[in-house]
Symmetry: C2
Subunit: 455 residues, 2 copies
Amino acid sequence: MSEKVLQYLKDNRERNLKKLNEFLSIPSVSTDSVHKTHVEEAAAFLISYLNDIGFSNVETVETDGHPLVYAVYDQAGEDAPTVLFYGHYDVQPVDPIEQWESDPFQPVVRDGRLFARGSSDDKGQVFMQLAVFEAFMKTEGKLPVNVKVCIEGEEEIGSENLYTILHDKKELFAADFAVISDSGMVAKNQPTILYGLKGFTGIELIVHGPDHDLHSGMYGGAAKNPIMALSHILASMKNNEEVITVEGFYDGVEPLSAEERELIKQVPGEDYVQSTGIPETVSEKGYTAKEHTMARPTFEVNGIYGGYQGEGTKTIIPASATAKITCRLVPGQDPETIQDLLESHIKKVSPAGVTVEVKKEKLSAKAYKVEPNHPLIKKAAESYTQAFGKETVYVRMGGSIPVVEWIEAIYQIPIVLLGFGTPDDRLHSPNESFPLDSFDKGMETLVYYWNAVHA
Amino acid sequence: MSEKVLQYLKDNRERNLKKLNEFLSIPSVSTDSVHKTHVEEAAAFLISYLNDIGFSNVETVETDGHPLVYAVYDQAGEDAPTVLFYGHYDVQPVDPIEQWESDPFQPVVRDGRLFARGSSDDKGQVFMQLAVFEAFMKTEGKLPVNVKVCIEGEEEIGSENLYTILHDKKELFAADFAVISDSGMVAKNQPTILYGLKGFTGIELIVHGPDHDLHSGMYGGAAKNPIMALSHILASMKNNEEVITVEGFYDGVEPLSAEERELIKQVPGEDYVQSTGIPETVSEKGYTAKEHTMARPTFEVNGIYGGYQGEGTKTIIPASATAKITCRLVPGQDPETIQDLLESHIKKVSPAGVTVEVKKEKLSAKAYKVEPNHPLIKKAAESYTQAFGKETVYVRMGGSIPVVEWIEAIYQIPIVLLGFGTPDDRLHSPNESFPLDSFDKGMETLVYYWNAVHA
């Protein structure tokens, strides 16, 4: 059943690449209002493509920001499942532009990679999905699954409007499961199932001391130093064995099973020392660096500041000191509960002579995890292997994709992350690219997968 | 013997104030090269004045920066002691100029205070010394003491050239004791003997982690966070009872005697909560805030920075984090030894996964302390009381005046700090001023003092 579709994709490879280049040439940078018309142009490209393929209800859903592209296909038959397909057509800014070796919006192939902003994140992967749907329609006259398409234009600026739409227009997106192609594989041509993502929450901690900077000679010994107070508070929150020492932080965290540790062990590891220049890896006591990054919660101070930062010396006791803190969460942890625990801990350990202020980050997300042996996941793994000729590895990721958590929370459906990016794609950086191998074998994977899901 | 001199000062009050205003009108800002000729003009004013009074060897000593004004008086007789008088004729910049209520270089009297940059720090106090010498010459025909004058033009920029001159031209400045009028009283019209100053040293501590900022989702759990490492290091250096926990830090520090605690108790105290807005004072366990600020060493982080400081959230593990640290030292502590102790401690507690870099501050100073009952001090206290009609209090100060330590180290002579400033003088700030009470009674104090010293 897949042969004709695959042959069609082979025969139309040049045409598809040309069409993809047309899509990538539109500078749909969502964060910059000068690109507003370009963002609309990218949405119009998708609307036109979806109409050509034969989707119905093709429309843009207007938001307070950039429009969302919506479409439906419901001719797969009553016994076929309905999939919600999510992707995004907006891209990151291109700065620093001078570091690009070719124009970010004039796609070009070098060394088997397609270089363009959005080639991997996420226009390239969105295009692959649509090209595969087109191939099914052109060869089989129908798709193996019913589809609801949801392609937003605000992923790179936080997806706030998407959140509202998913909530308010729930009926538009009702489906049996969701598929998202906005992630990657652990290595080029290494089939990868991403079965877990971490959640996310954060706070800003401000320690206030005197109402202005004080002369350290006149007041040193009378006024508590806010930087020292902050250091003590932070040091009390995570020890040097990387164990988070905030009471209740690990409550509800499920232990890492022997089975899962084995899965993690099989993932080809990044040489962290080589790629980051750190002297050695450091991870939570009792866990390897891979286990900690993938499957254990983290507590990181992303920024700290207070007092004098210039050349030389300024002998002051500063008025305040601030730390920006974020945590990556695992299943069993609730972002708001974690914020409350952090706040309680801070208030408890805050020393005399200063006052503490805790600002809670608004956007947060729970962790996401699907059973690695869920049938929809197993089928994805088999499809990957069939296309790439290699065993699929199962990974959990330290990062967070808020939309995944939202879809799970609102629709309570399984989510399959079918991503084909590679670690070398330079997302968000100059010279973003996507391997043509991923383009070809990724589409092959999708063909196998939609057929497998239908069966 | 003092009456005629005092009468002369009374009779010439207006003339002296007019002449002081002429001196204060010269914008001798040492830090700004556009004022180079003004600095030279201020030096020339002093040269001319010293010649008029009748000093010999009046000359400018050229330096790599601004010149030093030198003069000698050696006609007091063989039995009279020789005093080294130190002051400075350069002033701080005037920014922010818009906050001045009158032109900083057009002296004006309001509410019994003379407003002008340098009125208190230090041109006003230098002028008082010279005016008193002039009064002695005009009335008695001679000074009660032999004098070596050393008035520099680089105090506000670190006195580096002075340090070299004091070292290299030692014979020029040889004296029996030194007098410095570049400090203040604890309250207006409250005679104050400053018998101790703290020393000073500093380091910059940089914690290095990865060679670039890392994505906290991908590397949280593998890479040690430099901010957390820095927080642990700092927290290990001073506890929340304000005890410095660096091994050897207090070695050699003499215990605070019951007698000295009593002296400190008698000093009119500043209401720290009122003046700084802190919730409460916090000081070293076992010591009051006054005792700690005046007589116990301190360890302060003057600034800290690392990672993201902007709006909102950036989920990174930063490449590095930096703390700027200074310590105020008391007698018995050597600045370089303290730097070494800090460095050893940091290296010992530095956690795995990061490297630490310690940069040692070059300019540092030992503490200065003179016996409160040294005859030269007792005479100063008595002269103060005679002029101001009030008991003199004895204070040690948390601040540092490097030249005091240099003079002591190089010449090993007693140093008497005869200052007449008040806490409201706004040194280094807009609207610097000096009370006319201090001008009149300060000169009276000096007349009594020189006569007492001669006796």
